[in-house]
């Protein structure tokens, strides 16, 4: 096993990790502010992927135009989910919210099957993004580089938003103590809505990246990556955005290295490995690596 091979695996892991990180941020932000796991978050990846396909192929929009539209659409979907499913559920026990979001997830999956059929579609990006770049022993396509760069840019932008703007301060305050945040004059509904919008926008872009990376999309594509991104958020510490980013990369790298370094007979057990890690972390280090202890919102 050469150094070049390992380097390639690491690069692949980082690219996968970027996508997990983007989705994990959404999970963490939403959990942080309403203390509920949004199962339906993964489906937004699927929506983003299909929307990109539609914009690029059906409407023939150029890529730099399609991408921001996908961000906006993701935000809109997030807001709809918040208003329709989560707001009525506010104040209900944890598990109720969880089942409800599971219901929304299944509903979205089946809406996808209904409207788009279960057939996988091919996903093609314009040629200039498919070009292969070779740096030493490592090769990747331009699209991969774009994925990593834009993921980092988006993460940076989000961190800036959360830590340096008034809205971000409101979000952090609301995540910590809703009643006192209200006493400051913060509009809780709008703050929660903004959180959903931001997290979902990132998930939609992750869908765009997913389609570009793997070339094939189907209505059920969001489910397992969504779950894995949740695992990533837990690893890093739910509720913490840097934690979600860290967890995303750790998971992406572990998954790729697991498959790449162990004998092929084990690669099918990849998903079992990921979820065993989840259970282990929940038992041993429930607050994740960077997480803070979060009281329930009863």
């Amino acid at each position: 096993m050469s150094g070049g091979y390992i380097a390639q695996q690491i690069v692949n892991g980082l690219i996968l990790g970027s996508m997990y990180a983007l989705v994990a941020i959404g999970f963490s932000m939403i959990y942080g502010i309403i203390r509920l796991i949004n199962f339906a978050h993964g489906e937004i990846i699927m929506i983003g992927a299909f929307l990109t396909l539609g914009l690029l192929q059906k409407l023939q929009l150029p890529f730099p135009v399609a991408a921001p539209l996908v961000l906006i659409a993701g935000a809109v979907v997030g807001i709809i989910i918040e208003k329709g499913a989560f707001r009525p559920m506010r104040g209900a026990p944890q598990v109720t919210g969880f089942i409800a979001s599971l219901g929304v997830s299944i509903m979205l999956q089946n809406l996808g099957i209904l409207l788009l059929t279960a057939q996988p579609r091919n996903f093609t990006f314009p040629d200039y993004l498919q070009a292969v770049v070779q740096i030493g022993p490592v090769s990747f396509r331009t699209i991969d580089g774009v994925i990593m760069a834009s993921a980092l840019a988006l993460m940076g932008g989000l961190l800036f938003l959360v830590h340096k703007t008034r809205l971000g301060m409101a979000m952090r305050a609301t995540a910590e103590n809703i009643d006192v945040a209200r006493l400051m004059g913060i509009n809780i509904n709008r703050t929660i809505m903004a959180t959903f919008a931001m997290g979902s926008a990132l998930a939609a872009i992750a869908g765009l990246m997913w389609g570009g990376k793997f070339g094939q999309i189907d209505p059920l594509l969001g489910f397992v990556p969504g779950l894995k991104s949740f695992v990533a958020a837990v690893i890093g510490g739910v509720g913490s955005i840097p934690g979600a980013i860290l967890g995303g990369y750790i998971l992406g790298l572990s998954e790729v290295l697991f498959v790449g370094l162990l004998p092929p007979i084990y690669s099918a057990f990849r998903d079992a490995f990921v979820f065993s890690t989840l259970i282990l972390i929940l038992l041993v280090l429930p607050n994740g690596i960077l997480g803070k202890k979060m009281e329930d919102r009863a």
Binding site: I37, V95, N110, L111, D271, A272, L283
Partner: protein, 329 residues
């Protein structure tokens, strides 16, 4: 002579009329309708057994299909004729010469599912709320992956087919009665009351001194046992078993039944299971004729969400209908 309690009378009435129904059904209905009734029965077992786990103690387990799979596969391997075993599977010596009748195979399958529940329950049941739910989901996925890849025993993604068609309505009916009986007995025993107490307020229950942790593990194991039985019954009804049958979608379906019926209510689980399976059967031909797959699931999900918003305790809440619980007339 002691007065017979009212609820015991009702119980006899139900069991008897059920038996009469089964008898008539078997002689009048065609295969298709009989198989639907069988499925309804299996769903009832699944819903009521999940109620034991989720409903009474407030645990939340998405892992039920995993226990079903364990029970189903073990039962299938045990009843599989020796000749076929040699052809399709690579089993250790003692197993490859063994072919058991239905009942022992079912019981062993259920017991193995129960054992698995004990083993994973001890670490995992320390978790609470939605973290527990996610851990059980993880368990389900791990089981799926293991089954899909342990090809020598399970034939992997192809699964096993050509299983003997051992399930018929009397089997299903018997197990439905047993599951209901056990659930009922537990719920109205002092043990059952401590389970409900845990669900209402784990902190208070701990103060009363109920052995919180043990109760949770036992309720998981008990629910798992019946899920395993249901798996065995299911496998020998469909005469095939594949990993895809025990998915999160199934877990979701069972959860919908328990939630809609009212978690904690046995009658609720029963009624919801019947409603749910008949509605699914109604949707199936509809979807095919309209070429619109997925409508049934969307409908189910909508019903669930509406119930959670407007009537989160479900149709029956935690109660049983009054006439069934009245002690004396």
């Amino acid at each position: 002579m002691k007065r017979i309690p009212l609820h015991q009378i009702w119980y006899f009435v139900f069991v008897l009329s059920g038996a009469v129904f089964v008898f008539i059904a078997r002689s009048t209905f065609n295969e298709y309708i009989l198989s639907i009734i069988n499925f309804v029965g299996i769903y009832i077992i699944l819903a009521v057994s999940l109620n034991i786990t989720n409903g009474f103690t407030g645990l939340f387990s998405l892992g039920h299909p995993g226990f079903m799979a364990i029970g189903g596969y073990i039962t299938a391997v045990l009843t599989f004729p020796v000749a076929k075993k040699a052809m399709f599977l690579e089993l250790p010596g003692w197993l490859s010469h063994l072919a058991l009748p239905f009942l022992p195979a079912l019981l062993i399958g259920g017991a193995c599912a129960s054992l698995t529940a004990f083993v994973i329950g001890v670490p995992v049941l320390r978790l609470r709320g939605h973290y527990l739910a996610v851990a059980t989901l993880g368990f389900l996925i791990i089981i799926q992956v293991l089954i899909t890849n342990w090809e020598s025993v399970t034939r992997g993604p192809l699964g096993m087919n050509g299983l003997p068609a051992l399930t018929h309505l009397w089997w299903v009916y018997a197990w439905v009665v047993i599951t209901l009986y056990v659930s009922w007995k537990i719920k109205f025993s002092s043990y059952g009351r401590s389970m409900l107490a845990i669900r209402e307020d784990p902190l208070a229950a701990q103060c009363i001194g109920t052995r919180l942790f043990r109760t949770r593990v036992v309720s998981l194991a008990l629910g798992a046992f019946f899920a395993g039985i249901a798996g065995g019954l299911w496998a020998h009804l469909v005469t095939a078993i594949t990993p895809a049958s025990f998915s999160l979608v199934l877990a979701f379906h069972i959860v919908v039944m328990v939630v809609v019926g009212g978690s904690g209510s046995i009658s609720g689980a029963f009624v919801a299971a019947v409603l749910f399976s008949t509605v699914t059967e109604f949707f199936r031909p509809l979807e095919e004729s309209l070429d619109a797959y997925g409508i049934g699931e969307i409908f189910m999900a909508l019903v669930l969400i509406l119930i959670l918003i407007y009537r989160p305790t479900g149709i029956f809440g935690t109660r049983e209908p009054g006439f069934l619980t009245a002690k004396r007339t």
